[in-house]
């Protein structure tokens, strides 16, 4: 191939003009490629040698750098491991301390458990000894002690009775001193009468109960007993009515609310309620007194001569079951005299209200 000619140069110039610089370069390279190369071996290998040298140098540099990097990484890893080791040792020491303290606590707990077991055994021994003593105790001595307790309680009862009598005497003397002898005597007479009536009522109640028991035993065949029972019941009812008439001072039938209200006022039933309540020996009795007080208070607030009010009051009485509860309380002979008298008076006031009782 020959050297590029002017014609070629012109052709290049034209192509540049026609296709632009880039196309021209491509064309020119193609033209160069088509041209034969000169034989200049040194210049031909020099770039390759330079490139190889540069490559070798970069490889060596890279190798050295990577060795230095490895060394640095190894140092950092060693430091971290050392730190981890220190931490682990610390944790291990703490765990050992904790373990030793747990051991110590377990030992202490074991000692406490042993001490408790010893104490329990000692208590058990004491209990056995006490049981043995109790078994060995003389039954006659126990009976003597029991008798002594009974004797003392009887004595106490007598003392109480004596003190009550003394209190009654003192009260009577005080009344006389205060110049209210007439009122006091009337109250006393009334009280005596109420006591007598209460005693008679209780006696009749007892008779009634005895008769009822007898009737149960002899069953239905014994008509006489039934008649006797009916007679007793009638006598009881009549006696109650008489008692009521005497107490209320009212013989006409039916008893109007006004008469009941007067009896409550005159006999100070509501004023006496709070003091009677203090004598209640059981919660049931206290509740009964409260109930009676409510009913009596209600009675005092009703119109005195209204059949409708009488009916309403009777309903309330039935609802509260007041009279039956009073009867149940009076059936038992126990309880202070004043309390029994108050309940009896309340019964006499309430009896027959609204055709109840």
């Amino acid at each position: 191939m020959s050297e590029p000619t002017e014609r070629d140069e012109d052709r290049l110039q034209r192509m540049l003009q026609r296709w632009g610089a880039e196309e021209a370069v491509r064309e020119s390279r193609a033209a160069d490629a088509e041209r034969p190369r000169k034989k200049r071996p040194l210049l031909r290998w020099l770039p390759a040698a330079i490139a190889a040298g540069l490559l070798l140098a970069s490889l060596v540099t890279f190798h050295l750098a990577s060795r230095r990097g490895e060394r640095n990484t190894e140092t950092a890893g060693a430091n971290a491991r050392e730190q981890n080791g220190r931490d682990l040792r610390r944790e291990l020491a703490a765990l050992r301390e904790e373990l030793s303290s747990t051991h110590a606590e377990a030992d202490a707990a074991r000692e406490r458990a042993e001490r408790l077991a010893e104490q329990q055994a000692a208590h058990r021994r004491q209990l056995d000894e006490l049981r043995a003593q109790l078994d060995a105790a003389d039954p006659t001595a126990l009976a003597d002690a029991q008798r002594e307790v009974e004797r003392l309680s009887e004595q106490l009862q007598q003392e109480r009775q004596r003190s009550e009598e003394l209190a009654a005497e003192l009260a009577s003397a005080r009344r006389r001193l205060e110049g209210t002898l007439d009122v006091a005597e009337r109250a006393e007479q009334l009280q005596v009468r109420v006591d007598e009536l209460a005693a008679r009522l209780a006696e009749t109640d007892r008779e009634l109960r005895r008769a009822a028991e007898r009737e149960k035993e002899l069953l239905a065949g014994q008509g006489d007993l039934r008649a006797e029972l009916e007679g007793l019941a009638n006598r009881h009812a009549a006696l109650l009515r008489d008692c009521q008439s005497a107490y209320l001072g009212w013989s006409d039938r039916p008893v109007v609310l006004g008469v009941r209200q007067s009896a409550v006022s005159e006999n100070r039933l509501l004023q006496r309620a709070s003091r009677v309540r203090q004598m209640a020996g059981s919660p049931e009795t206290a509740e009964l007194i409260d109930c009676v007080e409510v009913v009596l208070t209600r009675l005092m607030m009703l119109p005195s001569e209204s059949p409708a009010a009488e009916e309403t009051f009777g309903r309330l009485l039935k609802q509260t079951d007041c009279l039956a509860r009073i009867d149940a309380a009076l059936a038992s002979p126990a309880g202070p005299r004043a309390l029994r008298a108050w309940l009896t008076e309340a019964k006499l006031v309430l009896m027959g209200a609204g055709n109840v009782g």
């Binding site: 009260a171 006091a184 109250a187 009280q191 100070r268 509501l270 004023q271 006496r272 709070s274 003091r275 009677v276 509740e287 409260d290 109930c291 409510v294 009913v295 208070t297 209600r298 005092m300 607030m301 009703l302 119109p303 209204s306 409708a308 009010a309 309403t312 309903r315 309330l316 609802q319 509260t320 007041c322 004043a338 108050w342």
Partner: protein, 131 residues
């Protein structure tokens, strides 16, 4: 003329209902007996008799307010008295005393006031007479 009369009646009714006009208490302490109202009261009283004072007190308070608003002074007084009674039984003595005093002051001539006076006296000086 009619309009004026109607207005006067309305005002009088309203004032009476609110309790703003002076009220002349009955002097003979006579009761008016309304069976329905008495039955309502008795239901609460039965609760008090059974010892259910808290429940009974709530009912009495409600009844007192209702009767007061309807102008039924007698039953309002009775319900108030019973409210005081329940408070007394619950051991709330100061409250009971206040309620009794209110009954006594507001309704001096009604039967509830007599009972309120009696209970106040018992609260002040417990009975020391013959049992």
């Amino acid at each position: 003329m009619w309009a004026k009369t109607t207005m006067a009646i309305l005002l009088a009714t309203f004032a009476g209902g609110c309790g703003n006009t002076p009220y002349s208490e009955p002097t003979d302490k006579s009761h008016s007996f309304d069976k329905r109202v008495e039955t309502e009261l008795d239901q609460a009283i039965a609760k008090a008799a059974d010892g259910e004072y808290a429940e009974a007190a709530a009912q009495f308070a409600e009844l007192a307010e209702r009767y007061r608003q309807s102008g039924d002074r007698e039953h309002a007084a009775a319900a108030m008295f019973w409210l005081g009674f329940c408070r007394e039984r619950q051991g709330r003595l100061e409250e009971a005393r206040e309620i009794y005093e209110q009954v006594e002051t507001r309704y001096p001539a009604l039967p509830a006031a007599d009972q309120a006076r009696r209970r106040l006296q018992l609260l002040t000086e417990p009975d020391e007479g013959e049992i």
